[in-house]
Symmetry: C2
Subunit: 358 residues, 2 copies
Amino acid sequence: MTKDSKSNLSEKQGVSQPETTSKSAAQKIKLNRRKQVSTDTFIEKILEGDITFLSKAITLIESTNSKHQEKANTILNACMPHADKSIRIGITGVPGVGKSTFIEAFGKYLTSLGKKVAVLAVDPSSSINKGSILGDKTRMEQLVTDKNAFIRPSPSGTSLGGVAQKTKESILLCEAAGFDTIIVETVGVGQSETAVHAMVDFFLLLKLSGAGDELQGIKRGIIEMADAIVINKADGDNVKNAKIAKVEFNRALHLYPPKENGWQPKVMIASALNNSGIEDIYTMISEYISTTKKSGAFENRRNDQNKHWLYTTINDQLKKRFYENPKINELLQKEIINLEKGKTTPFNAANNLLNNTD
Amino acid sequence: MTKDSKSNLSEKQGVSQPETTSKSAAQKIKLNRRKQVSTDTFIEKILEGDITFLSKAITLIESTNSKHQEKANTILNACMPHADKSIRIGITGVPGVGKSTFIEAFGKYLTSLGKKVAVLAVDPSSSINKGSILGDKTRMEQLVTDKNAFIRPSPSGTSLGGVAQKTKESILLCEAAGFDTIIVETVGVGQSETAVHAMVDFFLLLKLSGAGDELQGIKRGIIEMADAIVINKADGDNVKNAKIAKVEFNRALHLYPPKENGWQPKVMIASALNNSGIEDIYTMISEYISTTKKSGAFENRRNDQNKHWLYTTINDQLKKRFYENPKINELLQKEIINLEKGKTTPFNAANNLLNNTD
């Protein structure tokens, strides 16, 4: 078409004989078919244990694009019947405790037994500095080249809830891909241990031995969550201190009421450097799994965790909807000022706010 | 009118000359005026420190009748500017620890100093057996006859939130009535300590000395909340054990990170029977109050508590509205079954439920 043809007054050119099918319609069908095939391929490949497709599917889970999410959900739903068959182990510990080295040694031991190991992470802080735990794969250079290991950094996200949800869904995909041991690492920012604790079968706290007073500075609630405490870097001059720390932790654990499933949390010593203690730790975890599977506690814990995530997701969303309402937010600021001035009670203020959404 | 007049066919009697104002209208005005006067009287009497009216107003707070609640709110709002000036002390301990005897001894000591003491309670279990802590006033027979003391049993209710709200509002009325020390007792059912902790300036845990292993069996989180632990019944043969327990609790308290306000929780020994230790406990609480008032921590805590109650009330109500929706409830049961069968993820199930309220 020439420039002139833009005028409505200009004579229109005759159209040539149309093609039997319109180009755009053909393209749509083609795209659609490609998408269809693609999702099916994803599912097929994941169930075959193809790590490249597993990795791509997790990228879809982590995407904020709604089409990607839709696709991820289709894949996830198809994979669901093949998931849920692994052992999920959570590992936490402050930076410097030797998590990477420990996970590498532990993971290598597991693959040497013929197991397939996936290592995931929950680190809500990773969105801030764009770095993330496990992001630097060179930290586990032996495990990363192991064909029976799959290592995936923490998803980024603004809220722990979002990050945790993505990791939880990734666990299911890894399981569908045949990984029988899932390790979820967390650095323990905010409530991230609680989130990881709520998605694993066994929760392990890594500690260093210090100069006594081992319990000082441990975050509240962590001891209660731990199924085992492993004193890491028990090598060289540290061995003696590690043994002292073991006694102290054992005493501390006895101060807590026993776990509902009857398990008495264990304290163990390990050196990822010397590869010592790793086998014992795996034996202990295996014992825990077989005991709880026999008693039904294993399945109960998974059911409880699913319900926990169901209610947590709903409750978070209810609050989000309420507090992200601009009208509510404005009124809330006013009511908080009234509260501080003693002009209202918390209950009157709450009712005022709630009546604005009726 | 006769029985016959019931028939529509019967001739109607002529009406007599109407009165200048209708009887029902006059009655309405009269009732309304009585109500107006009554609320004003309530406020006036409460501010004068009249215990009978204070007691009646608390009954209105506790009522489930919406007219009573409206009236209670009017009274509460008028009393608000006169509230907030007392010291609020929470006291918890398992049954048998001697709470009543301790509160009586402590309360008598306070009134001997010229203080006015109100004793309230939070016991969510009281609705079940219709009994309630403090219900049996004879347990504090000296304090109950003290004109500077006011003792009120726990309100009954089906939820801790409801019971706690009523007690929190009663605190404000007691303060407006001139009570300068409010003691809130709880027996520690469910989360009731957390609720009481969130409405007091100082939280005191009563304990007995035993045969060692003092920390066994203490509910999770209680130690972290306590601003002081008082080992009660330290008399006769118990004195030695109490001293041992004191050492053990002191050691245990050092395992916890220091409080945000810098306060190091204290362990003390008391015998309500011998009236020993009571004065020291009051001195300690006074020190706490003056230190935190100077640093601003006192006001911060109250502000934080008010915000806590604001958010708690809103969040509870949001959940209540959602889960009490019969449609949601039905769908929830289905989704939980799907979850247990591994047919859905917690996140898919949650979204399904949430989309039903859009």
